[in-house]
Amino acid sequence: MTIEEALYIERIMVLLAKKHSNELTESEHLELSEWLEADEKNIRVVKDIEKGDFTFRVLKDWRPEDATASLQRINQRIYGKPARKLWQVVAVAATIAIVLFGAGLFYFQNKNKQEKAAFASQKDILPGRYGGATLTLANGEKIRITDAKAGDIANQQGVKISKTADGQILYEIAGTKLGNTEFNTLSTACGEQAQVKLPDGTLVFLNAASSLAYPTTFKGLSTRETSLKGEAYFQVAKDKKHPFIVKTKNQQVEVLGTRFNINAYDDDHTNITKTTLEEGSVKVSAGEKELTIIPGEQASIQNNKIAVIKADLEEVLAWKNGYFRFNGEKITSIMTKLSRWYNIDVVYLGPPTDETFTGTVSSDKNLGQALKILQNTNGVKFKVEGRRVTVMP
């Protein structure tokens, strides 16, 4: 809101008040009518206000105690560092909590100045970027589309770069005319995430080090078939006549219109693919077996066996929402996630610790900040040299 808009809002409020007490002059009356007629939402808002019960209901919930409690939380973040004090007396437990704060503020101070210096001595590694990908055409030609400006990517490659309302870069697959169906592949490297809109309107969030192959057009095809490596979140556009299919190495997911996440990273070579459903329903199949899961469930597939568990949706979707969430996770698994986002190599000095970590770290932090949060738990230490991170017990 600009100052002008703020003044305008104040003016409208004065006019509304004057209207109520019958003090409007003719020109003010006109001014208010103009505003009301400019947008039907304005009329709706005035109706809401005049229909006391809405205002009443809202105001009833505006309790000063809540504002006071909230202010106390803020004060604690600004002044108090009670968590640190507490920490010094609490022995390191088997599960170490990484303190989590919404804005990424953390109370812990680095106890060991030397460790701090290890991070400060070199330029910190920046987090990955949202909006970066490589397009591989059916003929094998590769096109980097990271740096193209919005709107200017060659349309003959069938990708239009646009910005969403909130400034996010969106790759829109324009779709070609009926003809030979060819598969293009959009892939992300380590440190890249991309958001893609397929010609049917399906929205795909591609995590780092992942790729999605899609036909250049869905027209004339009975199913909408794509294949995925790595991890992606799908918001499938509804089209009952044309099921949407995502194939990964060892499974196939078939849906009509829904939201779900597929994690087919093969980090530890166990060949497990996890499909987590947020909304709608999906059919997961592997070999001869198939199973339909409901929202909140996660199907894990390994060697054509399907297991279903209740998922921690927040954890599964954290990558898409801009943070890492670890829920009793081992350092090796955490480092794999970090390496994909920060494009780092990880080496372990001695056997990796068995301790598990719980907490949340925003993914817009530099690597040093993220490591510091982990290190402050006293459960693990790091040394950073160039893009190589050594994990020490």
Partner: protein, 191 residues
């Protein structure tokens, strides 16, 4: 309360680094900003507002007057919400969400701010009354308790409750900006 010393209304520069000003502003804007942010991000609103104010405190910003402050707060709230939504594409489900939780479209925001600020006027007016008056007025008009119930709750006689109510309305009428009182009437008596 004089309008000069009230950072929510003053036409003097506002120093957010002053503790008392910061707290008064927080009390004055916490609910309307949460109301506004809820339209974008639902239940995350509270966290977003808290994060925003922690950042503001660190910045030690100075505002020319209350209009400048208000414009800044709503704009920052909106930006913080859009930032939050960046990787959490909630706006795509907006078709399914109806009623009070309808997510705002971009051009919707001015009317939403007007709504938030009108309610804020009432809220600030009522809660800036002397404490007993404020309690009685809030319980009576915002929570529609009867005089008997208020008397029991506050351990006062019914006559005292009546007196406090009259006194509270009198203060609202004379000392506070006419428009807040007008909306107060509008919302609760002339409906």
């Amino acid at each position: 309360m004089s309008s000069e010393s009230d950072p929510v209304r003053t036409s003097n520069p506002i120093h957010l680094s002053e503790r008392s000003a910061f707290e008064l502003i927080y009390h004055g804007f916490y609910h309307p900003l949460c109301f506004y942010a809820t339209k974008f991000v639902g239940a995350e609103a509270e966290d977003i507002i808290e994060n925003l104010f922690v950042k503001l405190w660190d910045k030690k910003q100075i505002f020319e007057n209350h209009t400048h402050l208000k414009a800044f707060l709503y704009r920052s709230t909106r930006n913080a919400c859009l930032n939050y939504l960046k990787w959490n594409k909630r706006q795509y489900v907006s078709v399914e969400e109806i009623g009070e939780n309808t997510l705002v479209e971009d051009n919707d925001q001015l009317s939403t701010i007007i709504q938030a600020e009108i309610m804020a006027e009432i809220y600030r007016a009522v809660h800036q009354l002397p404490s007993q008056c404020s309690k009685v007025i809030a319980m009576s008009f915002l929570e529609s308790f009867s005089n008997t119930e208020i008397a029991q709750e506050l351990d006062l006689s019914e006559q005292t409750v009546k007196n406090l109510k009259v006194l509270g309305l009198k203060i609202l009428k004379t000392k506070l900006s006419g428009r807040a009182f007008s909306f107060f009437l509008l919302a609760f008596w002339i409906s």
